[in-house]
């Protein structure tokens, strides 16, 4: 045989066609399902996309914490989802017990209601962010720092231990109680129906016009807050001295120490920032799905973690993109493929993406350890 023209079999092997065909087949199946769904009922499809966006932005906030911590200490911080849960509960108690969302009205009764609500809701969010940040610093100091030089698996086991502890401690009767609690939203839900004919506000029993997409102020709040927080994070990481130090420590801890950076303090700050984002996410998630309980952190935490891996763990834009993909995957597969299988589909996507890009979408190839 002429060596310059390899046989068909050789070509199939060299070009990895079989594996590619398999992946392509799966992708085509999914794409076909989505396209038919879009053609069948475009408004319903767009509605699902909007719902997926809302979910995706919440996942993005949680995923950032995973990705930052992993980037800097190479630890899968399994307790992060439970920090998210604590954030939701802190915001719940600051609303129900301390009426924190109306503090401005009590202080200055004459102010317009809108201002009071915005300032109040932001205060509640700030409180849960602060609480989560403190909690994360405590966890880091008590559970992770002593194990910094131990094998990585030890820190992972402690992370699981911390996660269990937070869950079941929260489940105790005098802490957050083991019950489902209905979340009291600090703001009223307003739903808009967006159709080609214009925007109408729903309420008072009027049905949405034909062919309209429902969009609530909650989705708007979630998307805007998430974007604001992410821009803030991007600013901190890229523009400030702390962010520079964080990037340095993530790149090389030993050298960072030699450059006079207090690596332990930077690691604590990273944990705190990640947890603060999770705290905000906890509140947003509770506003969107107003039922909170001690296990609520596990599944969103896991999804966000998958999102971080999907995007390339350690990469901040990756976490964001990954989370949006996860949000869409979850909502669309629930709507068009199979509701009970939606999580399975999300994980299958993860596995397939890892097969094609072994370090996630934005991940850098793994460096050889020196």
């Amino acid at each position: 045989m002429n060596p310059t023209t390899p046989s068909l079999v050789q070509q199939v092997i060299q070009k990895r066609w079989l594996g590619k065909a398999f992946i392509l087949l799966l992708t085509l199946l999914a794409a076909w399902r989505i396209v038919t769904a879009l053609l069948e009922n475009p408004t319903l499809f767009l509605q699902q996309v909007v719902n997926g966006l809302q979910l995706g932005f919440v996942y993005a906030l949680i995923a950032l914490g995973y990705t930052m911590v992993y980037g800097i200490v190479r630890l899968i911080n399994f307790a992060h989802g439970d920090v998210f849960m604590v954030g939701a509960f802190v915001s719940y108690y600051s609303i129900t017990r301390f009426q924190l969302h109306t503090w401005l009205a009590r202080l200055a009764p004459g102010l317009p209601e809108g201002v009071v609500l915005v300032i109040g809701a932001l205060t509640v969010m700030a409180v849960s962010m602060a609480a989560c940040a403190i909690l994360a610093i405590v966890i880091e100091r008590v559970a992770y720092k002593p194990l910094r030089n131990a094998p990585r698996i030890s820190a992972l086991i402690t992370a699981i231990g911390v996660s269990f502890f937070l869950e079941y401690f929260a489940a105790l009767q005098f802490v957050f109680s083991p019950n489902f609690i209905t979340y009291k939203r600090p703001i009223q839900v307003v739903t808009w129906a967006i159709s080609p004919n214009g925007i109408t506000t729903l309420g008072g029993g009027n049905a949405p016009p034909e062919g309209s997409i429902l969009f609530s102020n909650i989705a708007l709040i979630i998307i805007l807050t998430s974007i604001a927080l992410m821009l803030g994070l991007q600013f901190i990481v890229k523009q400030t001295r702390i962010g520079k130090a964080m990037r340095t420590v993530a790149y090389d801890k030993q050298t960072a120490r030699l450059m006079g950076i207090n690596a332990d303090a930077i690691i604590s700050i990273t944990f705190a920032i990640g947890a603060a984002l999770a705290g905000a996410a906890g509140m947003l998630y509770a506003i969107a799905f107003p039922q909170i309980f001690f296990w609520m952190g596990i599944i969103p935490g896991l999804k966000a973690f998958v999102a971080a891996v999907l995007g390339g763990i350690g990469s901040i834009p990756g976490a964001f993109i990954g989370a949006l993909i996860m949000g869409q995957a979850e909502v669309l597969s629930a709507a068009y493929i199979s509701t009970p299988l939606r999580d399975a589909i999300a994980f299958s996507i993860l596995i397939i993406v890892l097969l094609v890009r072994p370090t996630g979408i934005f991940g850098e190839p793994e460096r050889e350890k020196a």
Binding site: I13, R16, G19, A143, T158, G161, F164
Partner: protein
């Protein structure tokens, strides 16, 4: 040689003694059925954890998929014995045995052929294997259904108790083979990933298995598994005897594997992949071997577990529980088999027994508050496990004899 057989005798005698003592305690009623169950659960945990120790502790592949294979083994074995004891039909057994045997033959045959093909990527290989096994499984369902009446009448000719035990043993063993085959298919493309990514992909596998089990009646068509309501009516056949037999078998297999050249190769992959490659070791091959054997043990343990309580629920195979064997092997000391056995029983006794029974009144809900605290304290005090790398003599690695002085001298003289 003499010393080795002495340690073997010690090991076998010791296990026999432990078994006899426990069995007497159980038979005389000194240990009630609660503790009997806990000991058997601990025993099952030993087998899962040794499997995981092989994958993670010894081969260095961070796998969270162990619990998924455990679930597969449990449900497959339970389904077979359920069909036999309730439906009086050996169809489950026949189909399982046929499918696993045919797939095993196909996998081995294909493996022999495909490993010679240079440059074949793992994903393409996976596609070939998947197609082959799916086709063969469909075929074996057809053949199995035709064979079922014959096998059923053969088995019913035997005394009922003996037939039951035969079905049980075959179910447990072939479910383990099933778990191993699935792990082979899954591991082939996945094992090429970096360590953390491999862990996450296997975690995804565990979650997918759990979700499928949640919908086993509606989506997979196994009505008797009852999906998220939990499978009931599985015969309770796993006695202390079987648990002990399987633990001893698994320990001996692992120990002999570790002493063989295969074991050394598996160990070298953990120590340094590049150096191992330089020594001519086919890293991918040995990763797969460790992963498949570890999953085989997981499937085996699953089969045993299914027949302890007589019911199965998908929540048992939740991904949160999938960290349990990881916790056990880290506590026992990574790579240490003695430590794994010890930690598994300690885990079962503490978590299922002591914390359930001896928490003061009004503090029952504190069980899972105390458990992670214990976890944290032990981890902070002994990050390398309770026993470190201690092994009983039977399980110790035989290190190469140190070189004799005479051999060294010329080398030193040259230097």
């Amino acid at each position: 040689m003499n010393k080795m057989s002495k340690s073997t005798l010690w090991f076998l005698g010791g296990s026999l003694l432990v078994y006899v003592v426990l069995q007497t305690l159980v038979s005389t009623g000194l240990l009630n059925s609660f503790w009997n169950t806990i000991i058997r659960l601990g025993g099952v945990m030993v087998i899962v954890s040794i499997g995981l120790n092989l994958i993670y502790g010894i081969n260095g592949q961070f796998s969270l998929g162990q619990w998924g294979f455990y679930a597969i083994g449990a449900y497959a074995a339970a389904d077979v014995t359920y069909r036999w004891s309730v439906n009086k039909s050996a169809d489950g057994l026949v189909v399982l045995m046929l499918a696993t045997t045919l797939s095993a033959i196909a996998i081995l045959w294909l493996h022999k052929r495909l490993s010679k093909v240079r440059g074949l990527d793992s994903l393409s290989a996976f596609t070939i294997y998947l197609t082959a096994t799916v086709l063969l499984s469909a075929l074996s369902v057809q053949i199995g259904m035709a064979l079922t009446p014959v096998i059923t009448s053969l088995l019913t000719a035997l005394p009922a108790a003996i037939a039951m035990q035969i079905v049980y043993l075959l179910a447990v063993l072939f479910s383990a083979v099933l778990a191993a085959e699935i792990s082979y298919l899954f591991g082939l493309p996945i094992l090429a990933l970096g360590s953390d990514y491999f862990g996450i992909a296997t975690l995804g596998f565990t979650i997918i298995v759990k979700i499928l089990l949640d919908n086993s009646d509606s989506l997979l068509g196994f009505v008797e598994m009852k999906g998220a309501r939990g499978m009931v009516g599985i015969p309770k056949l796993t006695s202390l005897f079987w648990v002990f037999i399987f633990i001893v078998a698994v320990v001996i297999v692992t120990r002999n594997l570790l002493r063989s050249s295969y074991g050394r190769a598996i160990l070298s992959v953990r120590e340094d992949e590049i150096a191992a490659k330089a020594m001519g070791i086919d890293i991918a091959e040995y990763k797969v071997i460790a992963f498949v054997l570890g999953s085989f043990f997981a499937g085996l343990a699953g089969g045993l577990y299914a027949h302890i309580n007589g019911f199965l629920h998908p929540d048992t195979f939740n991904f949160i529980k999938s960290f349990d064997p990881m916790i056990v092997i880290v506590f026992g000391g990574l790579g240490s088999i003695t430590g794994t056995v010890f930690a598994s029983f300690a885990w079962a006794l503490v978590l299922e027994g002591v914390l359930r029974l001896f928490l003061p009144e009004g503090f029952e809900t504190w069980r899972f508050v105390v458990y992670p605290l214990l976890l944290l304290i032990i981890m902070l005090l002994r990050p390398k496990g309770i026993l470190g790398d201690f092994e009983i003599p039977f399980l110790r690695q035989v290190l190469p004899q140190p070189r004799k002085k005479e051999q060294n001298t010329p080398a030193e003289a040259n230097a």
